[in-house]
């Protein structure tokens, strides 16, 4: 028990994202300013994506909404797709952090940790539901920079899948692992996209059906993994 705890804290410290490390060192005023502007751009863009739609939103409109020059936007993001991707990176990073840094989850079951991960992602996305639906369609186009096959999106996926792998490693005993376990993190990424689609279509009050769906499907998934090692 003690060794596992040690291992997880070590991992937590080595695998911190660069941005987190930077904040830990107390950034200077310049960096702080930059971060504030970046945040302003993202907030303005998201609100426009949500109300006007992703396709109809121009960088010009984003700049106006954020109260800065259009040129300034390009100092931070090349395209509006970049802004959207940045948002999805934040979504994944905060969800990973919320599971990793939550002391209550330290002794939780694998199902619970995975549930907490996905739920925290969905909670993050909730205010922008309309935009997420549009982005989803967008992402399915092969040439789209938002697309699941784009380079940055691949990186993001790796980060996510890597974290799921960590969770599996600390929860499932190493010996007699099911062959399925090696596929599990990748499959989980696809599962997450499915859950996202379910959530988008869920019209039940408080998205109650999504909660039930996550809970039941994770219970099935984890029990399949566990049965495999018998």
């Amino acid at each position: 028990m003690a060794t596992r705890k040690k291992a997880s804290t070590k991992e937590a410290s080595t695998k911190r994202t660069p941005r987190r490390a930077a904040t830990a060192k107390r950034p200077g005023r310049r960096a702080q300013n930059k971060a504030a502007i970046r945040k302003r751009i993202v907030t303005a863009a998201l609100s426009l994506f949500q109300t006007k739609g992703f396709d109809a939103t121009t960088t010009k409109a984003i700049a106006r909404k954020a109260g800065i020059a259009e040129g300034t936007v390009f100092n931070y993001f090349r395209t509006k797709e970049d802004i959207a991707l940045h948002f999805f990176e934040q979504e994944v990073d905060q969800a990973i952090a919320s599971v990793r840094e939550n002391p209550r989850l330290r002794k939780a079951t694998l199902e619970e940790k995975l549930f907490a991960l996905v739920h925290s992602q969905l909670e993050f996305l909730a205010p922008y539901e309309k935009f997420i639906g549009a982005a989803f369609i967008h992402a399915l186009k092969p040439a789209s920079p938002l697309g699941i096959f784009s380079h940055r999106a691949q990186e993001l996926r790796h980060r996510y899948v890597g974290f799921v792998q960590e969770l599996l490693d600390e929860s499932l005993p190493k010996q007699r692992l099911s062959p399925l376990t090696f596929l599990a993190p990748e499959v989980f990424w696809i599962y997450y996209l499915g859950a996202l689609l379910y959530w988008l279509h869920d019209s039940s009050p408080g998205k109650q059906n999504t909660l039930a769906f996550l809970d039941r499907s994770l219970a099935i998934g984890v029990s399949v993994l566990k049965q495999g090692k018998r």
């Binding site: 209550r104 379910y198 279509h201 408080g206 109650q208 909660l211 039930a212 809970d215 039941r216 099935i220």
Partner: protein, 432 residues
Amino acid sequence: MSSQKNTTTGRALSMASMGAGIAGSYVSYLLQRAFLGEAEGKIKLKSTHVRAARRMAEQMHALRGPAMKLGQMLSLQTGFLPDEVLAELATLQMEAPGMHPSLVRVQVKGSLGRDPEEIFKQFTAEPFAAASLGQVHHAVTREGQRVAVKIQYPGIRRAIENDFTLFRTFSKPAQASGHLPKSAIDEIEKQIIAETDYQREADNIEFFADRLAPLSFVKIPHVFREYTSDKVLTMSLMSGQHLEDFLAQRPSQRLRSQLGAHLFELFHFQVYEVKALHADPHWGNYLFNDDAGISLVDFGCVKYLSPEAAAYLRCVCLYPGSTSSADFRRLLETYYEQAGEKLLPGARRALIGFAESFYRKVYPPNPGNNHIFDFSDNAFLRDFLRESKNLFRTKGVITEFIFLARAEMGLYQTLHRLRARVPTSEIVRKYL
């Protein structure tokens, strides 16, 4: 897209693709549980006919949901379950999947707006009991009161509705033949759906706290409305033990009989005076105290009786004359007429048979002094089941009585377990 959504196939497709089979069905949860381990050992295929029936009964145990209530009624009509199992079903609980602490937190926050740890001074993340459709947690309010917080499993209402839709489709033949009247399915669905609204349950608790006040031996929890929503119910923690734990302490005959008499009186008081019934008699709903007090804890399933039904029951319970008299027959006919049903000869015979071979024995109309009925002999239970089956098979059952019958069966089952000796007629006479 939208045109596809409006066709039945489109709906079916979208349901399937959305994984409705996993989250959208109560039955599917129970099946899943049965096949994925927990209940594995219990369910084993056996070949002979009797064993097949028993296996079915075991599955019914696993299926403690709406299927249980439906199955119980079907069995009354078709006799596909052994009697003992049928009696036991009355005292089982509607079960929901267990929730891990993260899901509990999400449910509370989604419903009350804050995490349970913020709302309460103390909140135990592990549940201490299963409740109908959810689970119960210990907590302490900011004011220092110890409370029980009942939390509902997400999406359960939709899941139940889906199951009923499916069940209606599959049971079309039974509906057509009249074995399973549509009104009966409606009644069961209505009651079960009502159980998913904890605000309504809170209303029920307050209603009963008021109406049962004359019975000093009954204790009803206090509802904390500020911490209650349709999915979270906070109430004061009640004292007492569940039946099994209580019996494990080997209570004296005197105490068992006292408790039995109290349960018996509680039932009849509700029927005649309150005209509403705590109608889910499973044992988790009662807590027994050493001073023969009874704490009631779950008011999800409450059946409100029509004044006609209460009046009818009042007349027939200790009917002094002959049950084959024209007067008794008129009593039955009048009640059926008021309920908008026709009393068919078969149903009439069954009702008279019921009165004769069950009620006359358990509730003699003119008992000698100190008449005591001993519930420890299970012959009376067999009589009750046999007569119920006769009655349900005649297809002449008024839907109002479906839940009453269930509650009554639960009462007798509990009295039998207590091996109570109860002055039945004397107690009933107080309320006639």
